[in-house]
């Protein structure tokens, strides 16, 4: 006699799928037969419930709350689109660069005020921010009021008279040559 059938094997037999050996075992095993009948009655009970009783009301969200949730999702989507449009338009606003003449002038004035002597703004100063759009040296630097070129720290080498910070570069070389 073979071993008793598992629940899965009994279910297969119930669906007419089991092998003949399992069906042969079922025919001779009282224990498996009892379990098989119990399984049959269980399924009959399920079928009876489904056929004769109404489906219980699903425990779902009431309709008004469902609409509120849908409205909230819609509002969030609209807000997201609005913010993204706002950010996109904000990015398109032109930002004044350091190469802008207005900014450049302001920076020059600020530098002159910071490094003034005896309360008077220095007339000889160097533009801190060169015009990066041009490749040439100091000659092309946008300046005002006779600004000289210097490679020192913050352009102060020549202006402050610091030792060892002699001006050099194209304009300095030309000046030497002219002397």
């Amino acid at each position: 006699m073979t071993r008793c059938l598992t629940d899965r094997a009994l279910t297969r037999l119930l669906a007419d799928l089991g092998p003949p050996t399992d069906r042969a075992h079922l025919a001779v095993c009282a224990s498996c037969t009892a379990r098989y009948r119990r399984l049959q009655s269980e399924l009959a009970g399920i079928a009876h419930v489904l056929a004769t009783t109404p489906e219980p009301r699903p425990r779902t969200m009431p309709a008004p709350r469902r609409w509120i949730a849908a409205a909230a999702v819609l509002a969030a989507a609209v807000a997201g689109i609005w913010v993204s449009i706002d950010i996109a338009s904000w990015r398109q606003v032109p930002v004044r660069s350091l190469q802008d003449p207005v900014v450049s002038t302001a920076m020059t004035d600020l530098t002159a005020a910071l490094f003034s002597v005896d309360g008077e703004p220095r007339r000889r100063t160097t533009l801190l921010v060169p015009d990066m759009t041009q490749e040439a040296g100091c000659e092309t630097v946008t300046s005002m009021a006779g600004i000289h070129c210097a490679d020192g720290l913050l352009g102060l080498g020549e202006g402050m008279g610091a030792p060892g910070l002699e001006p050099h570069g194209p304009s300095a070389d030309r000046a030497d040559g002219q002397d």
Partner: protein, 161 residues
């Protein structure tokens, strides 16, 4: 035709959620039967033909009814459910409300094909061959779907208990 009405209504109620929608489908099925009769296309076996048309109509309704499912059951459908639920039989009362709820829950979780096969085999009490002919499947396929449906139903009830 009237003899089939109750059977089809029960079948459609099991395959759909909304009793009102089930009534609509049964109405449509009888309209199609009338058309077939008038056009001389009457089938030899009305029971199988009606069952097949009803199953296909329920399938179409379920496929196209996502908006209806979102809205939930209609007010009238819920009223019908409440009215029916108010008068359970003694056997149903003995079974327990929680058990009935679990059975329905497990049944609703079945895939559509397994639900169809289970209904035809255990509620409509068709043979494997009749169910296969109704659903347009092979008998072997019906057996496999039935095996999976039974396994899932039992798992659902065991897991909840």
């Amino acid at each position: 035709m009237d003899a089939h009405r109750g059977r089809l209504l029960r079948l459609c109620r099991l395959l759909l959620r909304d009793p009102e929608e089930a009534q609509d489908v049964v109405q449509d099925v009888f309209v199609k039967a009338y058309d077939a009769q008038m056009q001389g296309r009457a089938p030899g076996d009305w029971a199988t033909w009606l069952t097949r048309v009803a199953i296909n109509a329920c399938h179409d309704r379920r496929r196209a009814g996502w908006w209806m499912h979102f809205r939930g059951s209609s007010a009238r459908g819920e009223e019908l459910q409440v009215m029916a639920a108010a008068d359970p039989s003694p056997a149903d009362r003995a079974l327990g409300e929680e058990t009935r709820r679990l059975i329905w829950l497990a049944f609703r979780r079945l895939p559509e094909r397994q639900r169809q096969v289970f209904v035809l085999r255990y509620i409509e009490e068709l043979s494997t061959e009749e169910a296969a002919a109704t659903l347009g499947l092979s008998p072997g396929s019906v057996k496999r779907h039935l095996f999976r449906a039974i396994s899932r139903l039992r798992e659902g009830l065991r897991g909840a208990s």
